[in-house]
């Protein structure tokens, strides 16, 4: 893993201090409410490439940070 996430208050901190947050991604094409619930609960986009996600700085300042990460290389872009 070896991720280092930059926290606005604490600076660059290793991923062990953070909790990975879910970013739910139900596609707009799903309009049926039951289907929406199933997708929201179980299904994922799982993209190979850029993904936006939230991390919670649990063992630090306890704030949420949203980052853009490349899932092919684990490089953090912003």
């Amino acid at each position: 893993m070896s991720l280092r996430i930059t926290c606005p208050t604490c600076g660059p901190r290793s991923a062990e201090e953070w909790i990975h947050g879910e970013m739910f991604d139900v596609p707009d094409s799903i309009t049926d409410t039951d289907e929406w619930d199933v997708d929201r609960g179980f299904f994922h986009n799982n993209p190979e490439g850029l993904v936006q996600e939230a991390w919670f700085h649990l063992y630090g300042c306890r704030r949420w940070v949203v980052i853009t990460r490349d899932t092919r290389t684990d490089e953090i872009l912003s």
Binding site: D34, N46, E48
Partner: protein, 402 residues
């Protein structure tokens, strides 16, 4: 695979034809076992197995080769027990030695709650055909060599379950034996060909686009590991899968004998000794979804701390190799097998951290589904539509590494 092994195992690589009855995407254990069973049990040999890299080079070559059936729910116990029994006969059937070694698996626990879980596990295992019993701390101390019964002063060993059927086998020999058997029967196994698209007309699979041209077929089995969602996307099928990295390591040669497979649920790791004498260990998946296969220092330092607490002798060993695989994690920690909303597009995925042990039974069941058109009872509970039907098979506690 090098020339030495190509000569030892009679591999006849196929060349791509313009059409097939069945196209299997992914030349790992599950894809090859499906082809093997299609050819040998059902006589369907007009089959292609497409592998992007080399056979057994994905997760079939990156796992820790444990075979067990000590799950926590009836459906998985039945399924993995079938697989465990098929593994017993696989060497005789393929006439290839796979270093299959049934030596028993210990799941030890350090909490009162874990003790209750293991008592329940032993009961449910016995009820559905798996050979598991509860073991008291005295027996664990006697049977597991070099164990520290009170690691770090905080995690006293309070008991565990002993799964007599627990075994290991050599991963690449399993893959090659299945490939060889399928090739002999006439299946085309092609390496270095990547699937770039799936053609769907009127909700029916009609063809596969590859880097070596297009193939016409009405049945596609996706046995892809790691990139299962990307391949399913090509057919417009959305999967409940996320890809997470999982790391493992081996140490240098340990001179003693460690004739057991041990997992500590509360300390979160498992360890066994390979045929070469190396100590092999693994732990939990990385928290973030990722396709990166980079290994890191944090994993090795954290697992070393926990392993040496339970097995102080491992403190004298050195880490020799470390590697990472891509795990397809389903939300309920059970595999996803069978039909999809697109006709002719079948999947066997969600193999997360439990794929190697399921190779023979997974291949047998998928082949039966392709040949007969009906989903075998053994894998019916693992269907893709179980999530919408509120029939999820939550069994995270049995993945061994969480």
């Amino acid at each position: 695979m090098n020339e030495f092994w190509e000569a030892k195992v009679a591999l006849q690589w196929g060349t791509l034809k313009p059409s097939y009855d069945v196209v299997i995407i992914g030349g790992g254990g599950h894809g090859l076992a499906t082809a093997y069973n299609l050819a040998l049990r059902h006589g369907i040999t007009n089959v292609a197995v497409l592998e992007r890299s080399y056979i057994g080079g994905g997760n079939s070559g990156r796992n820790t080769t444990v075979i067990r059936s000590n799950y926590g729910k009836p459906e998985p116990v039945r399924f993995y027990q079938r697989s465990l029994e098929l593994y017993r006969d696989l060497e005789a059937e393929t006439e290839r030695w796979m270093m299959h070694d049934e030596r028993g698996l210990w799941w030890i626990t350090h909490t009162e709650a874990g003790r209750r879980t293991e008592i329940a596990r032993a009961e449910i295992n016995r009820a559905f055909g798996a050979d598991t019993r509860f073991a008291e701390p005295e027996e664990i101390e006697r049977e597991i060599p070099g164990i520290n019964m009170n690691p770090a002063g905080e995690f006293p060993v309070l008991g565990g379950s002993f799964h007599a059927g627990g075994a290991t086998a050599r991963h690449d020999r399993v893959v090659w034996a299945l490939a060889e058997g399928a090739m002999r029967a006439g299946v085309d196994i092609i390496q270095g060909v990547e699937v770039t698209g799936l053609k769907v007309e009127n909700n029916q699979i009609v063809g596969v686009e590859t880097t070596q041209g297009s193939i016409a077929t009405e049945t596609v089995v996706s046995a892809v590991g790691g990139h299962a969602t990307s391949v399913a996307d090509m057919a417009g099928v959305r999967l409940p899968i996320r890809t997470h990295p999982l790391q493992a390591f081996v140490t240098n040669h340990y001179e003693g004998t460690f004739d057991a497979i041990v997992a500590s649920i509360d300390l979160g790791f498992y360890v066994s000794q390979t045929a070469r004498g190396e100590m092999l260990g693994g732990a939990h998946i990385d928290p973030q979804p990722s396709y990166s296969r980079r290994s890191d220092h944090h994993f090795i330092s954290s697992i070393a701390k926990r392993i040496t607490a339970l097995f102080p002798f491992m403190g004298d060993l050195r880490v020799l190799r470390q590697w990472t695989g891509s795990c397809d994690m389903s939300p309920d920690y059970s595999p996803v097998m069978g039909r999809t909303p697109v006709d002719g597009f079948l999947i066997t995925t969600g193999w997360g951290t439990w794929g190697f042990k399921a190779i023979p039974a997974g291949g047998e069941a998928m082949a039966e589904l392709v040949a007969t058109g009906t989903t075998p009872e053994l894998i019916a509970p693992f269907s893709l539509d179980r999530f919408a039907k509120d029939r999820a098979l939550a069994d995270r506690g049995s993945s061994g590494t969480h």
